[in-house]
Symmetry: C2
């Protein structure tokens, strides 16, 4: 607890309990204390399981709210490629693709959150102090560069496998909860919340709209000075009432 | 290349090229060689990018086909819990849940493939030499134990947050491609293929059917001696023609 100076001294009742339980001075009973100014609290752990978890959690483990850009991408038709080619080739092509795409994301200050089959989820803006406009631009620029990398990969695929891939990319900007989650043996930093789901659903709309890169209006507003916007759509999005406005990103201005 | 003894000696044309290019004895021209028995080949790398990737790939990186059980689970209503609670609590609860669920999966020889928000993807049968029936049983047993762990968590949630979670679990068994994929800095072993997508879609059907654990018929056939099967459903599954038969897992027999 910070702000102890804004709490009055313990009353008789609290003092008795504090003595009996051996509370440190920074443990106060909320029911007996009326603060006179700002006080920062830490939640008390409740059972042994909580105690153990709290010990295991590092500095990243505690969860904080943050405005970030979330990018989802997916390869169209990869599953049928996987079904009709050798496992060696499937993994090799996927790794070649992820290496090129990954470089683009890392160079634009993005964090590769996870791979989901042939899909990728990336987060922009994890570091503190970055501006929303800049975060969104980094994400959209990554998407446009990913398309360039895909063009290169497609030359190779056409030559060696007589096939080309298309990708769909969806980007949204909003508040999420960032934390380190998972079983203690396999934790990873990730983003949680409705805005993550929304980004994923915008990516899925690239199929129906046949557009390569789709932005939410929250992203579009922050990049329109630097990015050429193409078509716009009104789409129904699961879990959202009414229609949701999404925009095609075409190229750098 | 293994099985060189099953290839006839180089003919004149091949000999000339082999000399000019400095081929080792185990590099043969497929167009000039008619094998008389079994021969194992390794694909030639094509460009510098391929060479670099091949160097980076470890023993797991090459991709192999394997029959595994794939388990997907998801918490119903977690997003609204996340929206209305403190980030600290959201991450804490998620970690408490993943720790308990993760233990169950690991104890049943499962591999935690990834966390997707509040969801988890696990693979059973990654080790060689396990029987299909046993692999499927481990996966279904994990699912049933996950429900027990959830009951414990729900007592804690009810007490502290006045909320309870439901989960939906889908399990499928089939051939996938196993490999280590991703950008060189963030690779992970995962499963790729249509059977992974099918497992995920079976999990999604738990919502419409209000069933906690759903099995594909490939799993059901392999566990029905040891698992009590409840309702069965005919469902339409995206990417599959006709109706697909799925089954509720109730308890151990």
């Amino acid at each position: 607890m910070e702000g102890l100076e804004n709490c009055p001294p313990r009353n008789e009742l609290e003092e008795a309990l504090a003595k009996a339980k051996g509370f440190l001075p920074n443990v106060r009973l909320a029911c007996q204390t009326i603060p006179t100014g700002e006080v920062h609290l830490r939640r008390l752990v409740i059972d042994d399981e909580d105690v153990e978890l709290a010990k295991e959690q590092g500095a990243n483990g505690f969860g904080k709210e943050k405005e970030v850009a979330i990018l989802f991408s997916d390869i169209r038709g990869f599953t049928s490629f996987a079904e009709s080619n050798l496992p060696y080739d499937v993994i090799h092509i996927l790794n070649r693709y992820f290496k090129q795409i990954g470089e683009v994301i890392l160079k634009n200050k993005g964090y590769i959150d996870k791979y989901i089959g042939d899909g990728i989820m990336a987060i922009f803006g994890l570091e503190d102090g970055e501006e929303a406009n800049e975060i969104c631009f980094q994400a959209v620029q990554s998407a446009l560069l990913m398309l360039e990398e895909l063009d290169k990969l497609n030359e190779y695929l056409e030559l060696n496998f007589d096939v080309q891939f298309n990708i769909g990319i969806g980007i949204h900007f909003g508040e999420v909860i960032i934390g380190e989650i998972g079983h203690p043996l396999s934790k990873q930093v990730t983003a949680i919340g409705d805005n993550v789901n929304l980004a994923s659903r915008i990516e899925q709309l690239t199929k129906a709209t046949s557009v390569k890169v789709l932005l939410s209006k929250e992203v579009k507003e922050r990049v329109q000075d630097r990015i050429k916007i193409g078509k716009s759509f009104q789409a129904k999005i699961k879990g959202k009432t009414g229609l949701y406005h999404i925009f095609e990103a075409l190229s750098l201005k």
